[in-house]
Amino acid sequence: MPDTKRPLSPHLQVYSWSLEMALSIFHRATGVALGGGALLITWWIIAIATGPDAYDQFRNVMSSIVGKVFLFGFTFSLMLHMCNGIRHLFWDIGKGFDLEDSRRSSKMVIFFSVVLTAISWVIGYGII
């Protein structure tokens, strides 16, 4: 970065954390996490294409505690990124910029990503 004498804008630590800020950085973080999810899906597809043994190996890893923690993180990341992404699409067409609307949509994003994750796990494993 070029060294300039111009004044700098206040940085992150100056502001008190808001729901909107947290969701903004979580959108990015879950986006990166979903890169790991893409690897997981690819492994799953390759295992199916390879044969029954490779598929069983995949299923055994995913049935373990560590596997389930990864799957749960993947599910929640996917739901949060999708819900917040839909909110971004509304912002892109100029809707929902008011402080009140933003706060309400922040809460909706969190609510729906938790609910959708829960529904997926209830159907998928019979547990939350």
């Binding site: 890169g35 893409a38 390759i46 199916i48 294409a49």
Partner: protein, 124 residues
């Protein structure tokens, strides 16, 4: 009327050098991924305990194979665009920036091609 000078227009297109194309592609892929993700998750949750036969029969169907291809390719493309912006935002040294961008591009192409090939191998 545009306030940009003709020189600015020629040189311009912002720091990414390609105008709004990147942003727009991110949005188009996002819109496509909403129904594809809902389809994928609602299919996959029914197969958490499925045997090999069930899963391979499912992916043998042309509709499923096409939807899987669309989901994978659109998803990886969206991932590539997103990771590119993150690198542009946080990596300031030109060398490691170019290196990381290439790494992301190559990885995404390899993952996308491998997954697509596997889907085709199953379905064809």
């Amino acid at each position: 009327m545009s306030l940009r000078s003709p020189l600015g227009k020629v040189r311009g297109l912002g720091s990414a050098k390609n105008g709004t194309h990147h942003w727009w592609m991110q949005k188009v892929s996002a819109v496509a991924l909403v129904p594809l993700t809902i389809w994928f998750v609602s299919s996959i949750v029914q197969m958490t305990r499925a045997d090999y036969e069930v899963v391979i029969n499912w992916m043998n169907s042309p509709i499923v194979a096409v939807l899987m291809l669309l989901f994978i390719i659109t998803g990886i493309y969206h991932l590539k665009l997103g990771l590119q912006v993150i690198i542009e935002d946080y990596i300031h040294s030109e060398g490691s920036k170019v290196l990381l961008q290439m790494l992301v591009t190559f990885s995404c192409v390899v993952i996308g091609t491998t997954a697509s090939f596997s889907i085709l191998k199953i379905a064809l």
